[in-house]
Symmetry: C2
Subunit: 256 residues, 2 copies
């Protein structure tokens, strides 16, 4: 027991407690806005993929519509972060946390844009004859959704190990994209009527791969936030399609 005479006056303790509580509340509010953004962009991607799998454009239309809410949430995160920085003048770790929230919300807004773009292209694909690699593109969806979810869980728990696990999984997604890129080009070379749907599938696959990259960026921010140090290993460079050359099968168009 502390001797009552040695303690600061009751009203000072109350005031300090009050400030700390208000401050924690502000940080928690920032965290829950980011979590809401994460849940929404994850759902956007899920709906876009569902539209491809079921060849039903309704979930895609929803994903496109939902993008406005994600944009609004990004502005709310920014306003909240700036209010927190201005009113509470946080120090060191809390300052890092506020800046991390700003950065993550910006990344999530980008993910929402990519998901909406996948959804738009899904509505076009659904009006064209089915193309086989569409199913394979859809298979990129679940692992990338899981990466978003795990990155956000790592953020909520400030869990550096979980963040590192997300970061490591990006190479698989890149490999999936790499093999899909070649497969889609082969379909496009077989029949000129596959070129329009094939092009949309290429951009869809690329967008999903980019979403994986962005989830990886979130993981890097979380790792830094939790450990105060960047992930030491160099980031695996999985997507090599910028350098890819796919040749048409011999025989077709060989005279041109």
């Amino acid at each position: 027991m502390v001797e009552p005479a040695a303690a600061p006056p009751e009203n000072e303790i109350m005031e300090e407690k009050h400030i700390v509580r208000a401050y924690d509340k502000d940080l928690a509010r920032l965290g829950s806005l980011v979590a809401e953004m994460g849940g929404r962009v994850e759902a956007q991607l899920g709906a876009a993929i569902e539209a491809v799998v079921r060849r039903d454009s309704a979930p895609a239309e929803q994903a496109i519509e939902d993008d406005a809410r994600v944009d609004t949430l990004e502005r709310e995160v920014e306003d909240q972060a700036i209010r927190l920085l201005a009113l509470r003048q946080p120090m060191a770790l809390d300052l890092r946390a506020a800046v991390a929230a700003l950065k993550i919300s910006h990344i999530l807004e980008r993910i929402g844009d990519y998901a909406a773009n996948v959804a738009k292209r899904a509505t076009v694909l659904n009006r064209l004859p089915p193309l086989a690699p569409a199913k394979a593109v859809a298979r990129m969806g679940p692992p990338v959704r899981q990466m978003i979810k795990d990155a956000l869980d790592a953020y909520a728990d400030r869990d550096a190990d979980k963040a590192l696990a997300v970061w490591r999984r990006d190479a698989e997604v890149d490999e999936l994209y790499d093999s899909l890129f070649r497969e889609i080009l082969t379909y496009m070379m077989e029949d000129a009527r596959n070129i329009t749907p094939g092009t949309h599938l290429l951009f869809m696959a690329k967008n999903i791969e980019r979403i994986g990259d962005h989830a990886t960026n979130v993981a890097e921010i979380v790792h830094y936030l939790a450990r105060g140090a960047a992930i030491e290993a160099p980031r695996p460079k999985g997507d090599r399609t910028a350098y890819a050359v796919v040749e048409p099968a011999s025989g077709r168009d060989a005279e041109g």
Copy 2:
């Protein structure tokens, strides 16, 4: 003339001046880091385009290499912004300025990535037989470079009108991209051997169009910073290629 007796003591004035000067110096340093990033990503894009026009991969290799320096600069901006927020506890407008620098540096880092990707694909194109739309893709370069330059000038001068002018020019770039998208697809449909270079050109054109979008994002941030209000008009949605369907000319592959 102020009555000397009414003024604060000399040493207090000196101290305040000193703080203000150190603070202005920090903000100026932040501004010059952002300007350096801007100059570098603009040069990266210029080199990538030059590699396409001259069919010489040397400038492209340089653009790819330079990306690491841009990434480093982004981290420097972040460190500097956080130091400024922590040590000087800026208020209102200066807080907005620090957050704007963070956001713009993040966007410039993305622009650098896109420019490096254009450069990588240029090195592949230069190893394949020339494809006519390459020249047209290259023509997207100068107006987009100018958008980056003007957005950064607007930032340096806190010039809302200049920012608005950049913002308005994005629709032209989107239109250029839209017509190129269709042209490239037509080439791909004419000859299967055009599909690999055509695909790289599609992604290059898309990346340059995205750089234009990002320059527009910078313009929006600058407008807000200079005027304290967002640009009121809804952003023109110029790129409609996510919904594009291009049909092969009748006759070819019509039997498949």
